[in-house]
Symmetry: C2
Subunit: 195 residues, 2 copies
DNA sequence: ATTATAACCGACCGGTTGGTTTGTTGTAAA
DNA sequence: TTTACAACAAACCAACCGGTCGGTTATAAT
């Protein structure tokens, strides 16, 4: 009964990596089974089907990972500086594998949102959570920012630019390109401040 | 001999739509055959395999469509205004289907760049073409723009933001969100001008 | 010790995939 | 009219897919 949870977690971990590399639809159960060194019966004991396994990966792996990545950047005293530092360190420390595979959340969103309603709703919920996280922390320091800002709009733009550059660097497999766009994103973010 | 080219074109058109809707890997040959009302022999007479068919769609459909979409926006007298008009009309006239399916080029790039080298190289070439198209036309009016600009960097940022917002609106299936981010992108673009 | 059930195994299933092969038809040059 | 080849048609193939199911083992309560 104790190892059961370990098996479940192993399946989630392996599956999340495999989805990150190949996408959800192109990830076959057989490769998951091989990597986990378990049988098909074991997998179907823990998850009803492939779809439910995908949902579990998104909810238990991707969403927490993604939100906890952004959270410290905006909750610190100066979210403007926090975001810039975040993007810079991201561009600097990103491994070549991460450049090639892209952002897991972005990948899965692109692939599954228009195909599977369950994924779409989960993605939507996560995006809204992220938007309020960013926009509310910007509003927190609104006295330092320009008066003409629509915080929700700005937040969505920042996330869009991030995902877009992650896409671009992934599709061209060019890390320098990611750094370039991140640098310009920082220029934009700092332009939100007064003066 | 005359209808042969028509058949080939029909296959390309149907396949490009199907890839746009479902992605390349999830598009099966059988659905293409059904929609074209042809046999498998006919398809394999015109294309060596599914991969080559995909390459042909990218080169003969997607790339010209994508470049001809951007080109008039930046080649007019004022590329800054041209880009803003372009994005605004795009956000306004975009059909719900286009919102849901996203940008075909962006979709295919995301899906195939890290999986298939042939796709990656074609995508890379197209992105570089687009970048020079935008950056050279910005440089053309450099006397109207800020002096601290890196034109290539700015161009990549614009394209990234565009793809990112197209991604976001696709994954959330929210047209208003696309308009929102496009509006903020125009704000950014206009900030490139002097004063 | 018995019993119940969670945890897991692996053979099997129908269906689909991309791809091959053999055969037919239309057309155009010789 | 014969010949040659482009342009298809359709049956067929092995491989793989997600999913099912009957059976086995381990564990924990009774």
């Amino acid at each position: 009964m104790r190892e059961a949870e370990q098996t479940r977690q192993l399946i989630l971990d392996v599956t999340s990596e495999e989805i990150h590399k190949n996408g959800f639809q192109a990830t076959s159960l057989s490769t998951i089974l091989t990597q986990c060194n378990i049988s098909k019966g074991a997998l179907y004991h823990h998850f009803a089907n492939k779809q439910e396994l995908g949902y579990a990966v998104f909810e238990e792996i991707y969403t927490p990972m993604f939100l906890s990545m952004w959270e410290p950047a905006v909750t610190q005293e100066d979210p403007i500086q926090g975001l810039c530092d975040f993007f810079e360190s991201l561009a600097k420390d990103m491994s070549c594998e991460e450049v090639i595979c892209g952002c897991p959340v972005n990948n899965l969103s692109q692939e599954m949102a228009c195909v599977d309603e369950g994924f779409r709703l989960r993605i939507l919920a996560m995006q809204q959570k992220l938007n309020t996280l960013i926009s509310e922390n910007l509003r927190r320091v609104s006295e330092q920012l320009r008066s003409d800002l629509d915080y929700s709009q700005v937040s969505y733009f920042i996330v869009s630019a991030f995902h877009g550059s992650s896409s671009l660097s992934k599709s061209t497999q060019n890390k320098a390109l990611f750094q370039t766009v991140m640098a310009e994103l920082c220029v934009y973010i700092k332009s939100l401040q007064k003066n």
